[in-house]
């Protein structure tokens, strides 16, 4: 359905306005910063993915034969840290959010462009420190940094990794701060809260979590570093300190952090489903408020990671109950997306395939969350491969599917070129199959009792068949992730030029040029229509009226 156009003369846009390294490294243009983020998170994604492949290869056989125990421990630790802090958390907000939030609300830029650039530099400093840490020995505490192992027993580079995450956390806070202020202060005339695309609502909710959760893990990491370096004992059981206090503080951020990853992805999928069903989203206000509800309730459930850690039975009950409260808004979203398809006019372009994949995988991930929130079952399956499978269904099946769907959907806007549709559909299929092959067997492994973070399972060789399946799936998944990178790069040079609105989609970002000019709109747009006005767009004699051109 994507329409290509031939343009003899290239207009001035954000990509060709200036050339040279400094025009990128000193840019304050949110679109260029988004591309800087795109390059850097892709780099970290493939580093994290490489670690994942090594982990899966090690688990092909029960014996620990590929790498040594310490190496394996570092591999899963750094896989987790890189993927969580340097890929998933910045992924959609810092790339697609950075690119689209100002355009979708009709602003020229984010409220604080220089702070936006600063947050990329902080990310890079944190990332370089992480890289240095990995190259000079790495860290083996698990991404969770549990004390007293991290403070008193691990002899790896805990402090360096902690500082790297601390700095990256600042970058995340500043991104969230920029979004909140931008969404409050920079909306174009007529862009009321009820006309905002749901992508914006999702990013607003995400920013709340980034702002209020991240500082807590920042100070927690500082406390771990202080205990390790300065011997200021806060969690030290030798002094009478409580290691569980660390877990409380850690999960106060790290549970909501899951919603930092999944909420923007939900926003992307909402846009895609609306566009490719040619419909207004079913229950707009319910979808919008469920984002906020997820952000708030997300802060009430953290101790469900600690049901067997030694917390009181009563508080376990409270946290289990509240965990079901946060499951509800997610369920409401799934039902509303499904209802949106009803009586639509559904197109099967690659972004929509990713959205379908998201729906399926997120549903499985969410429903297995019900198992984990049920206290009696959690005792058995926590810290096993059941949990590993569950959170990969949410973070990879959910967040990464949404991220890739969004990259395809907005690629014509970002690059001004069309990606090859056939290859893209193939890649979506490969990712979906590879993902399920990798992670579905892990649910079974988990219920059978295979603990996570084991590099050697020669004591229980009966687990091998499922592990082999999982490793095979990881290989397929790896191919599925390489493909888009290759054809996106290819399309930058050889792709057909994209029209301003190749999908005939609603939303202000499609009413400006592809790629957009530096200040997004030539004149400030005035919004006079509701979000997702596909009825008007598909009217027989609809003429696209450029606003802000």
């Amino acid at each position: 359905m994507a329409k290509a156009i031939t343009q003899p003369v290239e207009r001035e846009n954000y990509l060709n306005k200036e050339y040279g390294v400094w025009s990128w490294l000193l840019t304050t243009d949110h679109k260029r910063i988004a591309l800087l983020y795109l390059i850097s998170i892709t780099f970290f994604f493939f580093i994290g993915g490489f670690f994942a492949l090594l982990i899966r290869l090690e688990l092909l056989t029960p014996a620990g034969d590929l790498v040594q125990a310490d190496t394996y421990n570092k591999l899963f630790t750094m896989h987790g840290m890189v993927m969580v802090f340097f890929f998933l958390i910045p992924s959609i907000p810092a790339v697609l959010g950075n690119f689209l939030v100002p355009m979708m609300i009709g602003a020229k830029d984010l409220a604080f462009p220089r702070i936006n650039l600063l947050s990329w530099y902080l990310y890079i400093i944190g990332g370089m420190l992480m890289l240095h840490c990995m190259l000079t020995g790495g860290v083996d505490t698990g991404w969770t940094f549990y004390t007293p192992f991290s403070t008193a027993f691990s002899n790896t580079k805990v402090v360096e990794a902690g500082i790297a995450i601390f700095i990256a956390g600042f970058s995340s806070i500043l991104t969230g701060l920029n979004f909140v202020v931008t969404i409050h202060r920079m909306r174009a005339p007529g862009m009321t809260w009820s006309r905002l695309p749901l992508f914006i609502w999702a990013h607003y909710a995400t920013s709340i979590i980034q702002l209020l959760g991240t500082p807590v893990i920042a100070v927690t990491i500082l406390l771990v570093a202080a205990e390790r370096v300065l011997h200021l004992g806060i969690f030290d059981p030798k002094l009478g300190g409580d290691p569980l206090l660390f877990q409380h503080l850690f999960w106060f951020y790290s549970h909501p952090a899951v919603y930092i990853m999944i909420l923007p992805s939900m926003g992307v999928v909402t846009e895609i489903i609306a566009c490719f069903s040619r419909k207004r989203i079913f229950g707009y206000s319910f979808v919008a408020f469920s984002s906020i509800a997820i952000a708030v309730f997300g802060f009430l459930v953290w101790a469900h990671h600690m049901f067997v850690a030694g917390i009181s039975v009563y508080s376990a009950l409270v946290f289990s109950f509240l965990s079901y409260a946060v499951a509800l808004p997610s369920a409401i979203k799934v039902f509303n997306w499904t209802a949106t398809l009803y009586k639509g006019s559904i197109h099967y372009d690659a972004p929509m395939l990713y959205a379908f994949g998201f729906l399926g995988l997120f549903t499985v991930g969410g429903l297995t969350g019900l198992f984990l929130a049920a206290l009696g079952i959690d005792v058995h399956v926590t810290d096993t491969y059941f949990v590993v499978a569950h959170f990969h269904y949410i973070m990879v099946g959910g967040a990464v599917m949404g991220y890739l769907g969004g990259m395809h959907f907005w690629w014509p806007k970002i690059s001004g070129r069309l990606y090859p549709e056939g290859w893209a559909r193939l890649a979506a299929l490969i990712v979906f199959i590879g993902f399920n092959l990798t992670f579905f067997p892990q649910f079974v492994l988990g219920y059978m009792g295979m603990p996570r973070r084991y590099y050697d399972y020669s004591h229980m060789p009966e687990f091998q068949v499922l592990n082999v399946l999982s490793t095979a799936g990881a290989t397929v998944l790896g191919v599925g992730y390489l493909l888009p990178m290759i054809y996106f790069l290819w399309s930058m040079r050889y792709g057909k030029p994209a029209s301003d609105n190749p999908w005939n989609a609603a939303g202000l970002e499609w009413k400006t040029a592809s790629p957009p000019p530096t200040f997004n709109f030539d004149v400030e747009p005035v919004v006079t229509w509701e979000a997702y006005n596909y009825d008007e767009l598909d009217a027989p004699h609809h003429q696209e009226v450029p606003v802000g051109r």
């Binding site: 069903s277 040619r278 079913f282 289990s320 549903t363 198992f371 009696g376 058995h380 084991y454």
Partner: protein
């Protein structure tokens, strides 16, 4: 216990399976039925409050059933029967050290008889570990500096996996072992063949060696409280609070005497932090528990070959009331 967990698990599989199938079927049906056809436009639907309420309230109801069921199972998992056989577990990088009340010590193995409730009283010497027996569907983190407890009742003889489920360093995946469940007669033979005297007896010896008995006298109220019958009772602390004298309380009183001192006693006890090993603390706790009368169903234990001391007679019981206020020396 495994049966309870599995029943809930199967219920959840059915319920969530139905939810998932419903969503998948609808998505696939809509995607096929309403695929784009030239000339056919989508029908705009604003939403429906009735539908939103329906698909909020029905899942919420289902969630509450799951929550309550899960909570009930959890309560069972977390409440050891009072007459359970007690086994002390000390975790360290990277092994499990097990001490039976009868005095046997094992490493990375735990022998238990079939059909008897077994309560594990666990602590760690270094980092956090987690005692996980998949076949019994139980798991509990083992923390440094305090006790955590879990229990099970094996129903079928055999050998089962024991895993450490909380990442604990280099050889985390080597911290595995076996739970050997034996027929009662076999177990009897095993325990008698390897016994070195009950744990409480070695506790008694340590109690004497460390000089505890000079203040904590068993006949009269000494400078420290008489410990006969303390275990399992609510005791009043110097700061006015009342706590139950459970294993963790006894442990804290040995390692940290100042923090939860009994009402009516001077703060004169030195700390034993660093002077006694985890195993010695366990033995002391086992000894103090053995001189308490809060050990119901003693008969079952004796029949199982336990050599725990007999319950106190009435005369001793009269002396064993140290927790009342105003009994200052």
């Amino acid at each position: 216990m495994a049966a309870h967990v599995d029943a809930l698990f199967i219920f959840l599989l059915i319920v969530t399976g139905m939810m998932a199938l419903l969503v998948f079927a609808l998505v696939i049906f809509f995607a096929a039925r309403f695929r784009h056809r030239p000339g056919v436009r989508a029908e705009q639907i604003e939403g429906s409050h009735a539908l939103e309420l329906t698909w909020s309230i029905i899942p919420l109801g289902v969630f509450m059933v799951i929550f309550i069921w899960g909570a009930v199972v959890y309560f069972k998992e977390r409440t050891p029967p009072t007459d359970a056989t007690e086994v002390y577990v000390v975790a360290k990088q990277w092994m499990w050290k097990v001490e039976h009340a009868e005095g046997q010590r094992e490493i990375n193995e735990l022998h238990v008889p079939v059909g008897r409730d077994v309560k594990l009283i666990m602590t760690s010497q270094d980092v956090i570990h987690s005692f996980f027996i998949p076949a019994f569907r139980i798991k509990q983190d083992v923390l440094p500096g305090r006790y955590t407890v879990e229990w099970f009742r094996a129903t079928k003889p055999g050998t089962y996996h024991l895993f450490c489920a909380e990442y604990c360093g280099t050889q985390h995946s080597g911290m595995v072992g076996d739970i050997v469940v034996m027929e009662p007669a076999q177990y009897e033979a095993w325990i008698n063949g390897t016994s070195t005297g009950p744990l409480s007896a070695s506790g008694e010896k340590i109690f004497a060696e460390l000089g505890c008995s000079t203040c904590h006298r068993s006949d009269v109220q000494g400078r420290g409280p008489n410990l006969q019958g303390v275990y399992g009772r609510p005791v009043q602390l110097a700061d006015g609070r009342t706590v139950t004298a459970d294993e963790n309380y006894l442990r804290e009183c040995i390692l940290d005497p100042g923090s939860k001192r009994l009402k009516g006693f001077q703060p004169i006890m030195p700390t034993f932090q660093g002077l006694v090993s985890e195993e010695q603390v366990n033995a002391l706790v086992a000894y103090i528990k053995s001189i308490s009368d809060a050990q119901p169903a003693m008969g079952e234990k004796t029949s199982a070959g336990s050599r725990l001391p007999q319950p106190l007679n009435d005369n001793e019981r009269a002396n064993a009331q140290p927790m009342e206020p105003g009994l200052k020396k």
